[in-house]
Each structure stands twice: as structure tokens, then as C-alpha cells.
């Protein structure tokens, strides 16, 4: 099977790699690039643990073939902190105890980031809708919803 050359930016850094044709972006990121923040949960597009942001859109890396990402800008949760300072969403998840086992957390944070990028002052319903493709089996969701709302308020205070 021929290797396919693929170039994209991952959290702002240029990446160039050869992948087997048909490799999912999830496997490409975790096994070849070494970014293990997207998690492989169901591999069916159901759980959202593998969520990443591709060119500003929330996508499931388990259903996305790496070779279709040529030239794309990919963001994962591992790229959110800057200079050792956590992103407001990460800070809010910690403070609100919105993570227990932590497996769903990177996907939740990606879904929440896309929401806040487009809707800086979301309603609770907006948050619930934005997280509706992400499953958490620990928290009961409420701490996660509150964390996202808190991060939104913290963003707007910082911007003021």
C-alpha cells in the first residue's frame, strides 16, 4: 500500500508525514504525530472523544481520513495552553470539577471552543446543543455545562 504524503498545521506548527492510505486522522495524530489528546472512544462517530477542530469546524477525527486534511489547520486540546498558562476553558473545567475520568474532556473542550469562537456569550441551551455530540459517563454533564458558561463569562470579562 502506497504511503500518502500529507501536510497540515497542528496547533500552529507545520507537520508533514507519510500515512498509509485510509489512515484516520485520529490514528495519524496519536500514533504518528504523537498528539494523544484526541481520544479513541467508539470509533463510530457517536461519543465525540476524538473531536478536533479542522479549519474552524468541529470534526470527529475517527471518521476523518488523514489524507483529506492536506493543507488544513488542525487544533487539538493539547495546543490550547500558552506558555504554561491554561486556556480559560481548561481552567474552568478544572475549577468546576467538570472532569472525572477525563476521557471525554479533550473532546468536550474542543466542542466548547468552537461554540465560544462563534458565540462568545452563549445561553445554557446553546452549550447543551454544542456538547450534544459528546458523551460523558462520569459527571452527569452539569459541571461541564457550568464550566463552559464560566469560561464564556471569564472571556467576556477579559475582553472588557
Amino acid at each position: 500500500m502506497a504511503k500518502i504524503p500529507v501536510q497540515f498545521t497542528l496547533n500552529g506548527a507545520e507537520k508533514a508525514e507519510f500515512f498509509d492510505s485510509g489512515t484516520t486522522l485520529l490514528n495519524a495524530l496519536r500514533d504518528k504525530i504523537g498528539d494523544t489528546s484526541p481520544k479513541g472512544g467508539c470509533h463510530q462517530g457517536t461519543c465525540g472523544a476524538c473531536s478536533v477542530i479542522i479549519d474552524g469546524e468541529l470534526r470527529l477525527s475517527c471518521l476523518t481520513l488523514a489524507e483529506t486534511c492536506n493543507g488544513a489547520a488542525i487544533t487539538t486540546t493539547s495546543g490550547l495552553s500558552q506558555g504554561g498558562v491554561l486556556h480559560p476553558l481548561q481552567r474552568a473545567f478544572l475549577d468546576a470539577f467538570a472532569t472525572q475520568c477525563g476521557f471525554c474532556t479533550p473532546g468536550m473542550i474542543m466542542a466548547a471552543k468552537v461554540l465560544l469562537d462563534h458565540t462568545p456569550d452563549p445561553s445554557r441551551d446553546d452549550v447543551v446543543e454544542a456538547l450534544s455530540g459528546n458523551i460523558c459517563r462520569c459527571t452527569g454533564y452539569e459541571p461541564i455545562i457550568q464550566a463552559v458558561l464560566t469560561a464564556a463569562r471569564s472571556n467576556s470579562q477579559n475582553a472588557a
Binding site: S21, G22, H43, S132
Partner: protein, 263 residues
């Protein structure tokens, strides 16, 4: 097993490549990559096409043509397709809607394929390189379709599209069932035309023809719709899956159809 992806700039070339054994068309990947992830070894090669017409939405008056590669997210945010937004948003979560296509939804097995239920109520026309087919005919033989769907076309209903998805998890959950209805009413309020489509009540979306017939000439009141609800389950053969049993789906169908008709 590695999958070879071949992408073609025209549908014609992609159709030619699809004739080879072991090939499947790759739209958004929510069906075919999922199948590969689950170990479906019948697929060895994926075919894609970047032909621009596949991603076009053309609205001309009340006539709509939607390219097969148009995503649920694109439909949900399109200002001229507000009537379809609820059905488009019924599919998956935000990440799924960013990639799930109109063309792919036509092939989604129950309990998926909610958007196709809306298209069936709209009496959509499904186009391939080989010609056009009414959606009901297309769905009946979708397994034997080997040509890439290029677009779906329909007329926006003057009195709107009624759509209801019933799921146990809110706001996103797999369908217990879903119902779409396009009704026309005479000036006296009686139903003059009814197209009712059901999801999860068979292995693919189906029309509730007995209920449609029973609605004609009736008003949309509890008494008026009672005969239609009594025959709502005629001809159904619902799926049984972890979401609901066939028995349960048949039991609750009239309740939800009633709510949709009286809404």
C-alpha cells in the same frame, strides 16, 4: 486493512472508478469510515469526487436543488431552507452535521436517516448520472444503486414541513422514530393533500399511505385525525434495536403522529 482513497474531479470519472469490486463512495464518512472502523473488510477502496455541483444549493422561488455533498450543517444555516432546518439538525451532533451529507443520508439504515424522512414527505427527486427517480422508488432499490447521487430536488411546501424526531436522549439521540408531514388544507380547513413519511418504522423511510388517505377531507382536530391515527401503523415493519422494540415503535407511533398533526 488499509483503504485506498481515490478522488476525482468529475462525477463521471468517479462513477467509472466505482465499477471496480470492493469500492464504496466516500461522502462525509459517517457511514463508510465507520463501517471500516468496525472491521467491514468488504470495502477496500474509497471513491470521492470534488465536482463543485455536488456542493451547491440552488433555490429558485419554491424550487430547491441540493447537491449530494451538501452537509446537514449547511442546510441548517441556509436562510432559504428554514423549513428543513429542524430535520437537518435532527441528524447527529454538531461534528456529525459538519460532514454528514444529503447523499449519504439516503443510504443510512434505520435507526438513522432522519433527513431522508423529510425528503420523502417532500416527494423529492433523486438524481444520478443515469437520470432522475422519485425518492420512494429510489429508496426501495437503494442497495442496487451503483451510480453516485448528484442531487435531490423538491418544491418547498407552501404550508411548511412538519417534522418530529422522537429520541430518549435530548437534544441529540438516536431515533425511536421520526415523522415528517407535508399537508395542504382547503379554505374550510379540511386536508386536501397529505404526504406523511415515517422513519424507523421499516428498514428504511416509508410513507404512511393509509394514514394519508384517511386524513383527506378531515379537519386537523382530535376527532378529525382519529381515523388516520387508527391506521398509522398499517404496513409498518419497525426495526428492533437497543433504542426500542418493533412493538414499542408501533405502539407509540399514533401518539406522536397525533401530536405532530395537532401542533
Amino acid at each position: 486493512m488499509a483503504l485506498a482513497l481515490q478522488t476525482f474531479s468529475t462525477v463521471k470519472d468517479a462513477n467509472a472508478a466505482l465499477k471496480a469490486a470492493g469500492t464504496r463512495y466516500l461522502g462525509g464518512g459517517t457511514l463508510v469510515v465507520r463501517a471500516a472502523n468496525e472491521g467491514d473488510v468488504s470495502v477496500s477502496s474509497l471513491i470521492g469526487s470534488t465536482e463543485p455541483a455536488l456542493s451547491a444549493i440552488i433555490v429558485s422561488g419554491d424550487k430547491v436543488r441540493i447537491g449530494a455533498s451538501v452537509t446537514m450543517a449547511a442546510i441548517a444555516r441556509h436562510p432559504d431552507l428554514v423549513a428543513l432546518a429542524r430535520a437537518a439538525r435532527a441528524v447527529g451532533g454538531p461534528a456529525i452535521r459538519n460532514v454528514a451529507t444529503v447523499g449519504g443520508n439516503l443510504f443510512a439504515p434505520a435507526p438513522y436517516g432522519d433527513f431522508t424522512v423529510a425528503l420523502l414527505a417532500l416527494d423529492a427527486i433523486v438524481s444520478t448520472e443515469g437520470g432522475e427517480k422519485p425518492i420512494e422508488t429510489f429508496l426501495a432499490k437503494r442497495e442496487s444503486n451503483h451510480a453516485i447521487v448528484t442531487e435531490v430536488g423538491f418544491t418547498l411546501p407552501a404550508e411548511g414541513l412538519r417534522f418530529l424526531k422522537v429520541s430518549r436522549v435530548k437534544p441529540k439521540g438516536v431515533s425511536v422514530l421520526c415523522i415528517a408531514a407535508v399537508l395542504e388544507q382547503a379554505p374550510d380547513g379540511t386536508v386536501s393533500s397529505a404526504h406523511i413519511a415515517l422513519g424507523c418504522m421499516a428498514d428504511r423511510p416509508m410513507r404512511a399511505k393509509a394514514a394519508e388517505k384517511a386524513l383527506l377531507g378531515k379537519k386537523l382536530t382530535s376527532d378529525g385525525i382519529a381515523p388516520a391515527l387508527a391506521v398509522a401503523s398499517d404496513g409498518t415493519s419497525p426495526v428492533t434495536d437497543p433504542i426500542a422494540s418493533a412493538w414499542y415503535r408501533n405502539e407509540v407511533l399514533p401518539v406522536h403522529l397525533g401530536r405532530l398533526l395537532l401542533a
